[in-house]
Amino acid sequence: MRSDSSLALKITASLGLLFLHLPILLIFLYAFTTEERSFAFPPPGLTTQWIAVAWNRADIWPPLILSLKVAALATVLALVLGTLISAAMSGAKFWGRDQLSLLIVLPIALPGVITGIALRAAIPMLHLDFSALTIVLGHATFCIVIVYNNAVARFRRLSGGILEASADLGANAFQTFRHILMPNLGTALLAGGMLAFALSFDEVIVTTFTAGVGAASKTLPIWMLDELIRPRQRPVTNVVAMVVFAMTFLPILAAYYLTRDGTETAGTGK
C-alpha cells in the first residue's frame, strides 16, 4: 500500500479547496475598487472611501441592528429549547424518541423554502401579522437543531456517574444543574449558540417568507438581496458583505476552537 498520495490527487484536492475560498476573497477586493457601476476586473484603482460611505449610509444601520436583535432572540430561544430536548433525549428511552429526533432535524432537512411557505400559510390562519417577531419564530425553529446537535453530543460524552455522585453528596436537582451540568455543558452550548447566531444572522430564505412589509422587518440579508437584484452603489454592498461575512465567520471559528479537543467538533453538519 502506498502511503504517499499521487500528484494528481494533490492537485485536484488543492484546486477544490481554492474553488471554495477564492470567490470570498474577491468580495474583499471589490470593496476597495474605484469602479462603481460594474464588476470590472482587474479594478481600475483602489480606494478605502467605500467604508466611510457605507458607515454614513442611513439605510444600512437599522437592518444591521434588526439582524443582531433577531439573531440574539432566536439564539436564546434555540438555546433554551435545544438544551431541554437534548437533556430529555440523553436520558431514559421513551415512546416516540425516534420520531422526535426526526422532527428536530426536519426544519433543516427539508429545503428552507418549505419551512418558509409553511409559516407563510400558517401565520395568517392564527390571525398574526408578519413582523420582526415572526422572523424570530421562523429562525428559532431551525436554530433548535444546531444547539441540540452540540448539546446532545456533549451529554453523550458526559458520564451519568457524576450526576449521581452529586446527588449522593446531597445536592438537589437544581444544585446539580447549576454546579455540575452547566459547567460541563458550557462550551458545547456556547458553540451551539454561536453557530445558531451565525445561521440566523445570515438567513434569507425563511426570512423573506416570514418578514412583514416595510423597513421594520428588513434584516441585513434582505437589504443585501435587494441590492443584488437592484444594485445601487456596488462597492458599498461589498463593504456590507464583508461585515456579514465577518459576523458569520468569527462565531464559527470560535465554535470550532471551543469544541475541537472533544470528539464532537462543532459544525460538522448544518
Binding site: 468580495i27 464588476f39 436520558g91 428536530i104 411557505i117 400559510a121 419564530l137 459576523m247
Partner: protein, 311 residues
C-alpha cells in the same frame, strides 16, 4: 441513629425527590416547551401548508376558497409547471453529480493522507465555507461571472476566450454571459453546496479500515482494483448522505436562479412568486409539496442504501 438521607429543606429538595421517584415527570417537564414549539409552530405550519394545497384560488375574485378540491394539484400538470419541476430535477441531479466529482479528491485526501495540522486546516477549509454567509457566497459569483468580471479577464489574458465563447454558444446551457446562463446557475449551485458533500464523504472515507486496504493489496489487488472494489463500496453511504443535501438544497433554492441565471423558473422560485405577487397560496403550497414528496422518496432509498448510518 440518624437516617442516611438528608431531610428535605425546601421546595427544591422536595422537587428533587419527586423527580427521583417519578422520572417521567421530569421528562414531561423537559419535553413540553420544545414539543409545543416544534409540534405547534412547525408541524402546525406544515399541516396548514398541506391544507392550503387542497384549496383553490377563485379565478374571478382572486380569493382563496377554503373548500376541499384537487383542482390546484391538477394545475401542477400543465405544460409550463411540469417543465419547471423537470428543470429543477435535472438541475438538482447535475449539481449532485458534479459536486460528487469535485468533492471526492478533497474528501479522499483529507481522510487518507492529511495528518495533524494539515488535517485541521482541511477541516476548517471545508467548514468555514459551509457556514459562512450564503448570500455573500452568491454575491461573490455575481462578481465573478459578470461579463466584465474575472472569468472573462482570465480567459482573455490566457488566450482561452475561445473556450468561454464555445461554452456559452452551446445550445440550451449557454447564453449571453455566464451570469445569465444555465452554466452560471449550475456553477453557483455546485459552489454553494459543495461543503455539504465533502463532510459526510470524508467521514465515510475515514471509516474505511486501513487493514482492509492492506488485505486487498496482500491478495494482489492493484491500487485501482482496491479503490473500486473496497474503498468505493464502503464509502458509498457517505456519498449518498452528501447527495441528500446537495439534491434537497438545490430542489428548494430560489435565490440563486433569481440572481444568476436566464430567468428560467425553478420550484423554489415558483413557490415564492406564486405566494407573493400572484397571491396564489394554494398553488404555491401544492408546488412546495413536490420537493417534500421527492425528498421522502429519496430519503427512503437512501435509508435502504445505509446512508443514515453515515450521517
Amino acid at each position: 441513629m440518624t437516617p442516611a438521607s438528608f431531610p428535605a429543606r425546601g421546595l427544591a429538595d422536595r422537587l428533587t425527590t419527586l423527580f427521583w421517584r417519578h422520572p417521567r415527570i421530569l421528562l414531561v417537564l423537559l419535553l413540553t416547551p420544545p414539543l409545543l414549539w416544534l409540534g405547534v409552530v412547525y408541524l402546525g405550519s406544515l399541516a396548514a401548508l398541506l391544507l392550503q394545497s387542497f384549496y383553490a384560488l377563485d379565478s374571478f375574485s382572486g380569493l382563496i376558497v377554503p373548500e376541499f378540491t384537487l383542482k390546484t394539484y391538477a394545475q401542477l400538470f400543465t405544460q409550463s409547471n411540469l417543465s419547471i419541476i423537470l428543470r429543477t430535477l435535472l438541475m438538482a441531479s447535475a449539481v449532485t453529480a458534479a459536486s460528487t466529482i469535485i468533492a471526492f479528491p478533497i474528501a479522499y485526501y483529507a481522510a487518507r493522507y492529511a495528518k495533524g495540522r494539515l488535517k485541521a486546516a482541511f477541516y476548517l477549509g471545508v467548514m468555514l465555507p459551509l457556514w459562512s454567509s450564503y448570500l455573500v457566497k452568491v454575491y461573490a459569483f455575481k462578481l465573478i461571472l459578470a461579463k466584465e468580471g474575472i472569468v472573462t479577464w482570465i480567459a482573455t489574458s490566457t488566450h482561452t476566450d475561445w473556450l468561454l465563447t464555445g461554452a456559452l454558444s452551446l445550445p440550451y446551457v449557454g447564453g449571453n454571459s455566464l451570469a445569465t446562463s444555465y452554466l452560471g446557475t449550475f456553477t453557483v449551485f455546485c459552489y454553494v453546496w459543495l461543503p455539504y458533500m465533502i463532510l459526510p464523504m470524508q467521514a465515510a472515507l475515514e471509516r474505511v479500515p486501513t487493514s482492509m486496504l492492506e488485505a486487498a493489496a496482500d491478495l494482489g489487488a492493484t491500487a485501482r482494483q482496491t479503490f473500486w472494489t473496497v474503498t468505493m463500496p464502503l464509502a458509498l453511504p457517505g456519498i449518498i448522505a452528501g447527495s441528500i443535501f446537495t439534491f434537497s438544497l438545490t430542489l428548494g433554492d430560489y435565490i440563486i436562479p433569481q440572481i444568476i441565471g436566464n430567468s428560467a423558473s425553478y420550484i423554489g422560485m415558483a413557490v415564492y412568486q406564486l405566494q407573493g405577487t400572484a397571491g396564489n397560496v394554494p398553488l404555491a403550497a401544492a408546488f412546495a409539496v413536490v420537493p417534500i414528496l421527492i425528498m421522502l422518496l429519496y430519503l427512503t432509498l437512501a435509508r435502504k442504501a445505509g446512508a443514515f448510518d453515515a450521517l
